[in-house]
Subunit: 372 residues, 2 copies
DNA sequence: TTGTATGCGTTATCAG
DNA sequence: CTGATAACGCATACAA
């Protein structure tokens, strides 16, 4: 019944046991040669390595190692949207970037997962993938279910800019405060007639003027927080929602705002830099100079490709750090330590796209929020 | 020595064996209940599921399953650049999108890997991650080494727009032909004074006018192929290289081209839509109308955010399909079948950004490449 | 339809 | 510094 061990070597792919046997050492010694987890005599080491090369053994099988270790070295990143959509957003890619860095430092890789309810039956999910932990980005609504699946597995979870409830560490911005600060800056420049271009209210991505009723139903935490922060300073601002964080969406919103020369705002506060870039383009299209005729502020502090010479007035968010912090939190949870939620602070940046309100004598010096 | 099995259930996380035992069935039956790979009596099924719920068993451990099956359900996607950079390119994200779709259909997830030579010692790599196969995007130069590591492991590999040599299936475009077709279109419109704005020549990303000598040293396959295709029609075209596929890079290149009113080209052929968008912006900046004063063509056929009303004349490439095809190829290789390299065909699209050369009486009808 | 028996390839533990 | 041993948790071939 038991096959000749030497013969077996020929057929199967070599295993560490084969290497050990041929090298005349025990499997554990061979294992240590590859893992480096214990000192090995140089001679033994060399011999094992030589045999390995000879046998075409390329190192421990990660699958077997992960079973034994109880760790796969893989962390899932779950996105709500289609990848195409997710990666259109510079903030998300920056966050992902920090996250991959943070996880790589931990020795973990990133498994991209889309929280798609109607994916193929055997598509990998948070519930079935060989992962050690999960990071949820922009978690809301439906993702809740999958969240419970992960937690049932006892896997550490962290969310970025989303609400997973209670005891799940959360990495987020001081969206409200930062928005308020921008609004104060704009107000300090003498603007009184201000419009807001918001991110989507919910997954419907409805565009256009928003009534107070609609505003009350906003389900996207980021949108709601920033808008609230702005309305604190400009309670009567006109609010226009965009269909996404895209230049062209900002362009659409801007056209709407600048359509009627009689009702033009003197300043537009956009909830993202991309939207702001679109608004600026709409302004230029309408023959308005920025910031002389209309001021425009953004949010994010990303490098907007195609904005030309303008420097956006914006709230610079530490997107990469946010991602890295999520990675750190995962590391802590994996180590069995508790991980706290973190609120990141945006840095107000005065650019060249905001200036004194037309007809206002106010200088730009009164530009910071109280207490800053 | 042997611990009370019932007591063990309390401490450890429940395994399928625990569930089977408590439910009074054999492990194999319990296994089948979860995998669905064989019919199970409804009563048995229910009982097993009930016990599982009771014990907090959430399904087979993916790590153990993958060891047993010899498959992890994970495919690595290796990028040369930082994620931030890679995902700035709409073509790459579209490709990734198709790829993830294709792999999901296969039941595999995507592990994002950056081919970083100086990553942490225990960072996951193509050589150590529990993957079933790998896709290399934009493979060139250094990635070769890691490639050999993967092949040594006997894992299937596919490359997208890169050269991994000989026997590695490759997914690529008919870059040269498509570029030629665009050039023919431009030539048919009467243009004789044409400039080319290229993608980077190599990893140095040097900007500016390129001498024939520099052109001969291009190491990026895509850049070289497209340029060659264009120069076939316009051997004397001025060639300006950009530092990346970005609107702002196109803007820079465009400014260079339009700087001297006396030496302006009447048409600019850009190697990507983003570059073309930048060139258009430079043209408008210089007071030139597109296409009346200058024609601009791109390459890719992506939706350029912020291009406004213009529709680019371009070669539309099937980026998503390219990714999906890579996924399919992986599936075939995994099944033990051979996978062929595929050359995708771009579709010429005449937009509103190209028109008759100023002072030329030529109509736009002669717009296709011979044989199309 | 269900149960039995093996082994997937490692690595941690502990004794030498 | 090295070796023996025992899991890790599961899925399949095969027998019943």
């Amino acid at each position: 019944m038991s096959p000749d061990p030497e013969a077996a070597t020929v057929r199967r792919r070599a295993t560490i046991a084969d290497v050990a046997r041929v090298a005349g050492v025990s499997p554990s010694t061979a294992s240590v040669v590859f893992s480096g987890k214990a000192p090995v005599a140089e001679a033994t080491r060399k011999r094992v390595l030589a045999v390995a090369a000879e046998l075409g053994y390329t190192g421990p099988d990660p699958r077997a190692a992960s079973l034994r270790r109880g760790r796969s070295g893989i962390v899932a990143v779950a996105l709500e949207e289609h990848l195409r959509t997710a990666f259109l957003d510079p903030i998300k890619t920056a966050t992902m970037d920090g996250l991959t860095d943070g996880l790589a430092a931990l020795g973990a890789g990133v498994l991209l997962l889309r929280d798609d309810p109607d994916a193929g039956a055997d598509a990998p999910t948070l519930a079935t993938a060989p992962i050690d932990a999960a990071v949820l980005i922009g978690c809301s609504g439906r993702m809740r279910e999958t969240l419970t699946a992960v937690r049932a597995r006892g896997l550490p979870v962290v969310v970025i800019e989303g609400d997973a409830g209670d005891d799940v560490p959360r990495m987020e911005l001081d969206n409200g405060e930062a928005a308020t600060q921008i609004a104060h800056h704009v107000r300090g420049l003498g603007h009184r007639d201000v419009a807001v271009v918001t991110l989507p209210f919910d997954s419907d991505h409805v565009r256009g003027d928003a009534s107070p009723e609609r505003i009350a139903t906003i389900s996207t935490p980021v949108t709601a927080a920033r808008l609230k922060g702005t309305l604190t300073v400009f309670p009567d601002a006109r609010v226009v929602s965009a269909g996404g964080s895209l230049i062209d969406e900002g362009l659409l919103a801007g056209r709407l705002l600048f359509a009627d020369p009689g009702e033009r705002p003197t300043a537009v506060i956009a909830q993202s830099d991309l939207l702001a870039a679109g608004v600026i383009r709409a302004a230029e299209e309408a023959g308005l100079r920025v910031p002389q005729d209309v001021s425009v502020a953004g949010f994010d502090g990303i490098a907007v490709d195609g904005l030309g010479a303008h420097v956006l007035t914006t709230a610079v968010q530490p997107a990469v750090e946010k991602g890295r912090a999520a990675g750190d939190a995962i590391a802590r949870l994996l180590a069995g330590d508790p991980a706290a939620s973190i609120r990141f602070t945006c840095t107000f940046r005065e650019g060249t796209t905001t200036g004194p309100a037309p007809g206002s004598a106010t200088s730009a010096s009164e530009n910071a929020a109280p207490g800053t």
